[in-house]
């Protein structure tokens, strides 16, 4: 029942918002709805910890009518992803400034997106998964195309086509696996996982799925849509993309590639790990030279998610655990980072790093919060990403020492671009743009609160997530 509510509530909220009847109250309504969904997901977490086999299942038995089995399942990994989604969506909605005057459709699309994302993370049937996977694309496409900045048309279409090409590759993989399942054929995850594919079949399956996920995450060399799309999207769109949507690809790696193609992951690590690693270093290096803040976040994110993918594909349980934990942490951190960016842009109307400066002297509260988020991004101990990245590097080290040493460089590079940026933006002489910078208001602080709380909670006390994952990873 909880699972159905998780899906239905955002959908109903979205439909109600689409009618436009709520007018000015749209934002508040969406915020309340998303908070209710968050509460339900907490309930689901509560029910989960007391479920004896650590899994919540729901089968609606509607095969005759719908032609698709609706099987929803929450295991530990799904739970983490659902929590991340339901935690971030209220923050994203709350962050929207009143002055921007978004139409009800904007919030309706965000709620629709939430529904699709929860669907992706909970479905336990291939076609259902694929439906949600594609559905998630439509709201974000419209958010970018309608409320985006410069060049929004070209970039949103490019983004859409790029990701759909990947999805179609996955669809071929799904259909192919379907024919391999014992008759009567079935799309349920169980029947797929029981296949025990031979190596020669694992390779094409791996390629089909990996293409879809690599585009979504994005991994080098499929990343060219990412920086552009982040830049063109309104900041809420960027948060949705970087915070949650990219995690769909990583979730896909955990959910499908690891169980379906174990031999490829074990044997091929020297083929694709260096490629991903190159992307990690490449993203971090480019971030150093970015003149504008949003692109810097985009490339930093490229580097961070690449590292997560490395952990997941390292074929080592530390790496996988760390990867999942880091999925959660990165979602929180990147949304926090975008929020800070939004606070700056809202007040100064520019995101060029060279135009900014001296904010710390006028806005001490903002400076503190920004510093915490920034340090979390470079995985300082006691912050959430430290635990995740440490585990990832540990896992990688056990798989291949040289790769791990090179991957460790990203932490140094990360410190370079982040601290350089922070110094330029926050300290030094005040510029014309930052002359009238005001500190955070109470309500803005409130939006930051859950992010800061999660950074320290996971950073100091990571075991509650790690314990959850332990059984699932095995």
């Amino acid at each position: 029942m909880i699972l159905v509510l998780l899906l239905i509530l955002p959908l109903l909220a979205s439909l109600l918002l689409f009618t436009g009847k709520l007018g000015k109250h749209s934002k508040n309504f969406a915020l309340v709805a998303s908070l209710v969904v968050f509460a339900i997901s907490l309930l689901a977490g509560y029910a989960f910890t007391f479920a004896h086999d650590k899994i919540l299942t729901l089968d609606l038995n509607l095969k005759e009518l719908l032609d698709v089995d609706i099987i929803l399942k929450i295991d530990a990994v799904s739970l983490v992803m659902v929590m991340l989604t339901t935690l971030l969506v209220p923050i994203i909605i709350a962050s929207t400034d009143k002055k921007e005057n978004r139409t009800p459709n904007f919030y309706a699309l965000i709620m629709l997106m939430q529904m699709a994302l929860i669907g992706v993370f909970t479905s336990s049937e291939m076609i259902l998964f694929y439906i949600f996977w594609e559905l998630a694309l439509i709201p974000i496409f419209f958010i970018t195309a309608l409320w985006g900045g410069e060049n929004k048309k070209k970039i949103s279409v490019k983004f859409l086509i790029y990701t759909v090409v990947g999805s179609f590759a996955m669809l071929i993989g799904i259909l192919y696996l379907y024919t391999l399942t014992p008759a009567p054929h079935s799309f349920s995850f169980e029947s797929f996982f029981q296949l025990k594919l031979p190596y020669s079949v694992q390779v094409p399956v791996f390629l089909a799925f990996f293409l879809a996920f690599a585009i979504k995450i994005p991994l080098f060399p499929f990343h060219s849509w990412q920086a552009e799309t982040y830049n063109a999207s309104p900041v809420q769109g960027s948060m949705l993309l970087a915070g949650i949507m990219l995690k769909m690809g990583l979730y896909g790696i955990i959910r499908f590639i690891l169980p379906l193609c174990p031999d490829v992951v074990a044997g091929g690590s020297l083929i694709f790990l260096p490629l991903i690693l190159f992307g990690v270093i490449y993203g971090a290096t480019i971030a150093i030279t970015q003149p504008n803040l949003k692109k810097l976040i985009a490339f930093a994110s490229l580097s961070h998610v690449g590292l997560i993918a490395l952990g997941l594909l390292s074929n080592n349980h530390y790496g996988i655990e760390g990867g999942i934990l880091q999925l959660f942490s990165h979602g929180v951190n990147v949304v926090g980072f975008f929020l800070c960016y939004y606070m700056i842009v809202k007040r100064t109307n520019t995101d060029k790093i060279s135009d900014l400066g001296g904010i710390a002297s006028v806005a001490p509260k903002f400076a503190t919060i920004f510093l915490i988020i920034v340090l979390a991004n470079i995985s300082l101990p006691l912050t959430n990403s430290f635990v995740g990245e440490f585990l990832i590097l540990l896992g990688l080290f056990q798989t291949n020492k040289i790769l791990a040493i090179i991957a460790g460089l990203t932490i140094i590079l990360g410190a370079v671009y982040i601290l350089k940026m922070y110094q330029k933006v926050m300290y030094g002489e005040r510029s014309a743009a930052t002359e009238k910078f005001t500190d955070l208001t109470f309500s803005e602080m409130l939006v930051f609160l859950p992010i800061i709380a999660m950074i320290f909670l996971v950073g100091i006390f990571p075991s509650f997530i790690l314990q959850l994952l332990e059984g699932a990873v095995k």
């Binding site: 694929y130 379907y178 054929h185």
Partner: protein
């Protein structure tokens, strides 16, 4: 059968009212007649009656497809008053010809004898030839009619020749008897039979507008009056593909190895040619012509993956294609009325002033592209499943690549509507009735996308 008779009578009544220059009652008569025919058609459900020496078979397959065809025609007629608003004369000839074409297409879905197939195809085609040229003073329309007539009658010749050869080889034109003959002789088919079958396949391929016999489609679709194009692209195509399916399913399933490869090649060529050509079109009407060709290719997959469930899948695909196409054309008619061109630019900023139309158009485009959770996706995925279960993975891969390509041109009107600044300053007037129909169609696409099983398991 009663549906066919009803519609024929309605068409004659329409002609009569036209002759005495009464304009007002024409459309109401058509609406009532078609609704009546729709109901009468459904009455025969699960009865499987054979008429006139097995000439016509009213089984669930034909009833389901006839339902789709009649409903689609009804939708076309609902859009007619807007399209023909400037025309003062009663238009009885056009309405009657559309109805006669419908009669032909209803015959095609339920034929039990090759002669009946030919009669149905000719009844439909002859009406369509005239309808294509019904904009008498427009050279494009004349050109379309002429092209359609010349190539179409050529294809009919092939079909008839093929039927004659099949008769020579099998000694009968009855589908059931041909099947019995083939069961007895399936390992030693004569050359005459193979050539006859090939000619029939060519004739049918032409009628559904699949490559390599698709060259007529873009020009004819573009030149014909838009309402007629809508009718041709939906009713004409669905009837032909249903007839094709029936022919292959009930007679030639035994010797599928002899035609399967040909059709697979046709299907691959159609999907690629249709999608790649649509990619370059700036004219939306022409783009839909190519998209129609591509969809004919997808529907051929259902024939290649012949088995019991394929009929249901084909029905779902027809429904999804028909609703989406008709919605798109309905919006196109409105837009063209306002801007005077079919160029993609005429869609600029439609969402601002006409949100309902833009929404429906976007849904139709996404459905045609096969984006979940719309009906287009459900149809495509079921089609691919049934093909893949028969071991046709390469064909499915080509089809999926085709879908990827199609996304680009389907997304263009959506982007134009939602992102580009509006070119018109005010909303395009459309009656609330028209709006309701369009919205209903969009709603159907979403609902059927959620419950496709209802249609697939129908037959």
């Amino acid at each position: 059968m009663y549906a066919i008779i009803t519609i024929s009578i309605v068409a004659i009544i329409v002609l009569f009212f036209g002759a005495i220059q009464k304009k007002k009652p024409l459309l109401p008569i058509v609406y009532i007649g078609l609704t009546l025919a729709f109901g009468l058609n459904l009455l025969g459900w699960n009865q499987s009656v054979h008429y006139y020496n097995e000439m016509y078979i009213a089984d669930n397959f034909s009833i389901a497809f006839n339902g789709v065809l009649i409903f689609t025609t009804l939708l076309v007629f609902i859009f007619a008053p807007v399209y023909y608003k400037p025309v003062k004369r009663p238009l009885e000839d056009i309405y009657a010809l559309i109805l006669f074409a419908l009669v032909g297409s209803l015959t095609m879905t339920g034929f039990g004898n090759l002669l009946m197939l030919f009669v149905g195809i000719e009844t439909m085609s002859l009406s369509l030839y005239i309808l294509a040229g019904s904009k008498k003073f427009d050279p494009n329309s004349n050109e379309a009619a002429m092209k359609y007539f010349l190539t179409g009658s050529f294809a009919s010749g092939f079909l008839l020749f093929g039927i004659a050869l099949l008769y020579g080889a099998c000694g009968s034109m009855n589908l059931e008897e041909i099947k019995q003959y083939l069961i007895l002789h399936q390992h030693a088919t004569s050359g005459m039979l193979n050539i006859g079958l090939l000619l029939v396949v060519i004739g049918m391929t032409f009628k559904i507008g699949a490559a390599p016999f698709h060259f007529w489609a873009p020009d004819v679709y573009e030149g014909s009056p838009t309402l007629i194009t809508t009718f041709m692209a939906t009713v004409g195509k669905v009837a032909a593909i249903a007839a094709f399916f029936r022919l292959m399913n009930s007679s030639f399933a035994e010797i599928e190895s002899s035609w399967k490869i040909t059709l697979t090649v046709f299907s691959i060529a159609t999907i690629l040619i249709g999608n790649l050509s649509a990619f370059y079109q700036d004219n939306v009407k022409r783009m839909f012509a190519y998209s129609g060709i591509a969809h004919a290719g997808y529907m051929l997959i259902a024939i290649i993956a012949l088995k019991q469930q394929a009929a249901g899948v084909l029905l779902l695909y027809s429904v999804s294609y028909t609703i989406a196409t008709i919605t798109a054309f309905a919006v196109l008619i409105l837009v063209r009325e306002e801007t005077g061109t079919f160029s993609i630019k005429s869609f600029n900023g439609l969402a601002k002033h006409n949100p309902i139309e833009a929404f429906a158009m976007a849904i139709a485009m996404f459905s045609l592209a096969g984006i979940p959770p719309l009906v287009g996706f459900a149809a495509k995925y079921n089609l691919f499943i049934s093909a893949i279960e028969q071991g046709n993975l390469p064909l499915v891969i080509v089809a999926i690549i085709g879908s990827m390509i199609s996304l680009y041109y389907y997304i263009r009107p959506v982007v134009a509507m939602y992102v580009n600044p509006p070119s018109a300053t005010s909303a395009i007037d459309s009656s609330s009735n028209y709006k309701k129909q369009i919205f209903l169609a969009a709603f159907l696409m979403i609902i059927l996308g959620i419950i496709p099983g209802m249609i697939i398991n129908l037959i």
